[in-house]
């Protein structure tokens, strides 16, 4: 019974924790402009994150060590440093976007300017990283993030023409007033949002924090292969709501308030309140995960003590990175930069950094010395190689598409 509860809890937190500010904004933008014609990208992205999360979770369970720890050892300090630099830049950018996302969510109910909320939010994030237990942080925020299921209910209540949605989905037809360039740009952005690098750092380091062994691999795989795809359904529901309620009115999404409008139309005050709880939980949870990922990555590369289970005085450098990252994110947001713009940039740069993150995981998961009999099988390697090709194509195309389309405008 206890095991069933653990599996159920893991799945629910994986669903609730799947969506972050990048998913919220990008899916709503894409839904409003392209309907469900880019839904296939979400599916490709979700399968991709499942493949690599399973690999990194397996590495953590078998070796008891996290990804960056092994990357430096296996590929050497120089390659490790390139990997660290690229991944850290994107993780910090995402951290800024998530803290901005929490502030924007709170602004929606309080009308207090988000810039004034940023220091308060940043302090709360740091306090949770400093004091809260790892399992409490993960489970509470993950479960509250499940509130975003309200978008599935809202889509149902909006009463869309399901055959038309299915047609958009199956044919992947580009709307007539959009160009192939913008269509491709948003495809890359959606892919980057679904496969954000911090997700695997957090997943594998979390596995080490929770002391996974090979016995927990079944639970880990269930969380990944059930929880993540169900989380992907939330992403599709957000896109579907925007496609049904905003698209026909020629509304293009550029603020978080617009993302919640379909829920207000379909379900009124109660539904909107639940959606806002979901916004806050999803962005706050992701802020904690990205903040920790920044600390994990640097500490693992340099071989410092790290983790929330280690006493803070024993992991001083790790906690210093958390503090500095939080101060940096606060400073960036206090310049009044638009958090939605930061989010848009972060998902595109996520796509650029994907090879730096996922190639080393594939190498380590193929190493018999580390993995023994749990080394990648034929299926994992085939999928891994396929995704590596997709990732390289997306990474190569991301910046040119951003320039050509003027960030999708």
């Amino acid at each position: 019974m206890k095991k069933v509860f653990a599996v159920a809890l893991g799945i629910l937190t994986a669903i609730g924790g799947f969506v972050d500010i990048g998913d919220l904004v990008t899916n709503a933008q894409v839904g409003a402009r392209f309907g469900l014609s880019l839904a296939w990208v979400v599916i490709v992205g979700v399968v991709g994150i499942c493949v690599f999360a399973e690999m990194s979770g397996r590495v953590a369970a078998v070796s008891g060590r996290a990804v960056f720890d092994l990357v430096r050892e296996r590929l050497g300090p120089r390659v490790g440093m390139v990997n660290l630099f690229g991944s850290m830049a994107v993780t910090l950018l995402t951290f800024v976007a998530e803290i901005g996302g929490v502030a924007l969510s709170l602004e929606l109910v309080s009308s207090v300017n988000e810039v004034l909320l940023v220091p308060f939010v940043a302090f709360l994030v740091w306090a949770v990283l400093w004091r809260a237990r790892f399992s409490v942080m993960e489970n509470v925020l993950g479960l509250l993030g499940l509130s975003l299921v309200v978008f599935v209910v809202a889509l149902w209540k909006l009463g869309p023409d399901w055959s038309q949605l299915a047609h958009q989905w199956v044919t992947a037809a580009k709307p007539g007033d959009e160009t192939w360039w913008t269509w491709s740009y948003y495809a890359v952005a959606l892919f980057g949002a679904a496969m954000t690098p911090y997700e695997v750092f957090f997943f594998s380091s979390g596995g080490v924090e929770e002391k996974w062994t090979t016995e927990e691999m079944g639970t880990m795989r269930t969380n990944v292969f059930v929880g993540f795809p169900l989380g992907g359904i939330l992403s599709l529901a957000i896109a579907g709501c925007a496609g049904v309620a905003l698209g026909p009115l020629s509304i293009t999404v550029d603020s978080l308030g617009q993302v919640g409008l379909p829920v207000a139309i379909a379900l009124g005050k109660l539904g909107l309140a639940v959606a806002i709880v979901g916004f806050v939980a999803a962005t706050f949870g992701a802020a904690c995960e990205t903040g920790l990922s920044a600390g994990y990555s640097i500490a693992q590369y340099f071989g410092w003590q790290w983790g929330k289970l280690v006493r803070p005085d024993a992991a001083g450098k790790f906690h210093l990175v958390l503090v500095l990252s939080t101060v940096l994110a606060t400073g960036v947001l206090m310049t009044t930069v638009d958090p939605i713009l930061v989010t848009e940039v972060s998902v595109v740069f996520s796509a650029v950094a994907l090879p730096l993150t996922y190639f080393p995981i594939l190498v380590v998961a193929n190493d018999h010395d580390y993995m023994g009999k749990h080394v990648n099988g034929r299926l994992a390697n085939s999928l891994g190689m396929f995704y590596l090709v997709v990732i390289v194509v997306a990474a190569t195309a991301a910046i040119p598409l951003m320039v050509v389309t003027g960030m999708g405008s």
Binding site: E107, L108, V109, S110, S111, L249, S250, I251, T252, D254, S255, G257, Q258, G260, L261, A264, I265, G268, K269, L272, A273, I276, S409
Partner: protein, 141 residues
Amino acid sequence: MVAVVVAVSGCRPSAPDAKGWQSSAEQAVSDMVSEVATSRLTVRQALRHRFVGRYEVVTLTYAEEAARKAADGVSSLQPPPSARPGYDELTAGLTDAADAISRARVAVTDRDAQTARTSASALTRELARLHRLQDRLRAAR
């Protein structure tokens, strides 16, 4: 050579060629359509009491800021000679639409249902005007 190109392209006011102007004008009108439609939807839902906290006010404030940005983006450009005939109509259309959003925001913040209803009607008229502008710009391509 590079310095000359950079210096010329960086002149104030920015003076795009006919193609650049056309693209900027179409983008501004398209952005304005989105903001006016967002505002009208928000006002209508506010009249039906479907928001919590200050959601509707914040959403309208963001729409208002984005609308001003779209209007200012075009009015700060130097139009090429070929664009002069429709220039006043374009800038007036954008400014009037942004003003209509501001009036809607004021009414909703004041919780003045009567004025909010009037604002929603005004936004509908502005939307129709913007669509006509959009069609004209497309026809001029």
